[in-house]
């Protein structure tokens, strides 16, 4: 495995009533496509949000080590607010599950795409605008200018998700965390968005942490798959050895998702 761009160590997240993440360890390899899979409620989203401290009303413990382009390592959980602000969107950015509700309904899509760029680079508005249009075009949006002028409700879910992608990528982050970016889309737009993600990773060399509960989907694109259960990563599967699974819970997940890559073994216990 290449050096991790992001390494979660002994991460715990507690809400007032529940422990959502419980001593999780997980590396996100530099420039690779890493998937995090697990049943609903296993703590995938909470883990993702904890990385950039986007959870409200949660107690987060542990370490989140980020390795910058210069090789320097920082623990994001110990970073101060202003450091964090400069970090979010610039080094690590996010794409969320429901693109329509994740975009501000009363702000033009273009404005929302530009935001991270204006906050993190010295580009002028016109230059940022140019970059947004180029980016949309590379995401195979046919009329980038129209999409920029539109409000979210005027666009399809697939277009909204591409706009979200553009907003996440415009400041050229090194890690993209995509939390079930295709779940709210129809099968075809979902596949297109996923193919785009894979393509972007190749082109830009950024690390992708792709969260899904669909193991088959993860298998198709990922280099590494972290399998999550009850707030922990119980196993990391590698493409190199055919995603061979040892943990019974992993097999159960594989069987449920009708994966063909791993020979089915009888479920123990």
């Amino acid at each position: 495995m290449p050096d991790p761009a992001l390494e979660l160590r002994n991460l715990s997240v507690r809400f007032s009533s529940t422990t959502a993440v419980d001593g999780l360890n997980f590396p996100v390899a530099e420039g690779a496509f890493t998937a995090l899979v697990g049943a609903s409620g296993s703590g995938k989203s909470v883990t993702a949000l904890a990385v950039c401290r986007l959870l409200r009303g949660a107690l987060v413990h542990g370490e989140v080590w980020y390795r910058g382009a210069d090789g320097r390592r920082t623990d994001l959980l110990k970073m101060d607010e202003s450091g964090l602000l400069a970090f979010r969107g610039k080094e690590i950015s996010y794409v969320f599950q429901d693109p329509v509700s994740s975009l501000n309904p009363v702000m033009r899509v273009g404005e929302q795409i530009l935001e991270a760029c204006l906050a993190h680079s010295a580009l002028s508005r016109a230059e940022a605008n140019r970059r947004a249009l180029d980016l949309l075009e590379s995401l195979r949006v046919r009329e980038p200018a129209r999409v920029c002028r539109a409000y979210p409700h005027e666009l399809s879910g697939g277009l909204c998700q591409r706009a979200m992608l553009a907003a996440a990528l415009i400041a050229r982050p090194r890690v993209l965390i995509a939390d079930e970016p295709t779940t709210a889309l129809d099968a075809l737009s979902g596949k297109e968005v996923l193919d785009l993600l894979a393509e972007i990773r190749e082109k830009e060399g950024l690390a992708i942490l792709f969260i899904t509960h669909d193991l088959a989907l993860a298998e198709r694109h990922a280099d590494f798959i972290g399998v999550m259960d009850a707030g922990r990563v119980i196993e990391v599967l590698e493409k190199g050895n055919g995603f061979a699974a040892n943990h019974p819970q992993t097999r159960r997940l594989f069987n449920a998702s009708l994966s063909k890559a791993v020979p089915k073994t009888p479920i123990e216990g």
Binding site: R88, N104, M107, M164
Partner: protein, 326 residues
């Protein structure tokens, strides 16, 4: 957008007429009448004299005929003459409007300019001391009887401290004052009435704005905005407030009719000759033309306010625009 506005405006006409029919019927069918009110204070009034009065006022005719007559005059914006002093109703209303309008405009301004920031500040600092203080303050203000507060303020600032005048709109020497002195004089007179009449509304708007802002802050797009690393100021005041203000625009439109509705209680406590007292007195003396005049004005403003609220929200919320254009 324009044609939508006109369509809505036309749709209001039957509604407006309906309101006038209802008001007209209720007022005329209510027990007592102008002649009774006069008779009550005049023991020498005979039955014949009373009938003659009814004839002069045209009250002996069938209600429908009276209403038709009233509408015909309304079409020429003629509200008729007061039964009490024979003066043109328009004149009487025009006399009462300025002071009421001034007080209400000032208190509405205060309500929105202070109430919204208070509520937003509370939401931004949710659960922290500032929010607690604002919440406690607004709840106290909301539950405090305004007339009681008015009397308290009068007693403190007017009677004990002698710092502020407590009745009327200006001093006796008003006419001899310079332009600047007049301003100060009116401001001193209106300070307490405006404060008192805005207090409840201010507390209400601030609670509403707090809820609206909290609602916006819980939305997914706020998480997206935070994930971009843009300044928190922008997250709060561009993303969240932009959405939180939409329902408040509706509320602003709905408060338009309140501009001319005078409060009988405050106007009586502070001796202000405004719309509240005019209406109260005209009801008391069964002065039908004046009552109807004030009601019509109120109905008109209410409908206008509703329309403004809808158009304002439509203009501010991109989601409604496509629906309007088609």
């Amino acid at each position: 957008m324009k044609s939508y506005g006109w369509k809505r405006l036309l749709g209001l006409v039957p509604l407006f007429l309906g309101i006038t029919i209802l008001s007209f019927a209720v007022i005329h069918l209510a027990p007592g009448g102008p002649s009774d009110a006069k008779a009550a204070f005049n023991p020498k009034m005979t039955a014949q004299a009373r009938d003659r009065l009814r004839e002069i006022y045209g009250l002996d005719r069938p209600l429908l005929v009276q209403y038709a007559d009233w509408v015909r005059r309304l079409a020429r914006l003629d509200f008729g003459r007061s039964f009490v002093d024979g003066r043109d109703v328009r004149e009487k209303i025009a006399e009462a409007i300025p002071v009421t309008l001034l007080i209400n405009a000032l208190s509405l301004g205060l309500i929105f300019l202070v109430g919204i920031p208070l509520g937003v500040a509370g939401a931004v600092h949710e659960g922290r001391p500032l929010d607690r203080v604002i919440t406690a303050g607004t709840l106290a203000a909301f539950s405090m009887p305004a007339f009681w507060l008015a009397l308290l303020l009068i007693s403190v600032f007017g009677v004990h401290l002698r710092a502020l005048p407590v009745s009327g709109v200006h001093s006796l020497a008003y006419e001899e004052m310079t332009w600047a002195e007049k301003w100060v004089d009116v401001a001193r007179h209106l300070l307490l009435p405006v404060l008192v009449s805005s207090l409840t509304g201010l507390a209400g708007i601030s609670r509403f704005a707090r809820g609206s802002m909290l609602d916006a802050l819980r939305q997914n797009y706020i998480r997206t905005a935070r994930a971009k690393g843009i300044p928190e100021r922008r997250v709060l005041y561009r993303h969240a407030l932009g959405n939180a203000l939409l329902p408040i625009i509706t509320l602003m439109g709905l408060s338009v009719p309140g501009l001319l509705g005078g409060s009988v209680i405050f106007e009586t406590i502070f001796s202000i000759p405004g719309m509240g007292r005019l209406f109260f007195n005209s009801v008391f003396t069964r002065d039908y033309p004046v009552i109807m005049g004030v009601l019509v004005l109120g109905a008109f403003l209410t409908l206008l306010g509703n329309l403004l609220a809808d158009l304002g929200t439509a203009a501010a919320d991109p989601r409604t625009k496509t629906g309007l254009l088609s």
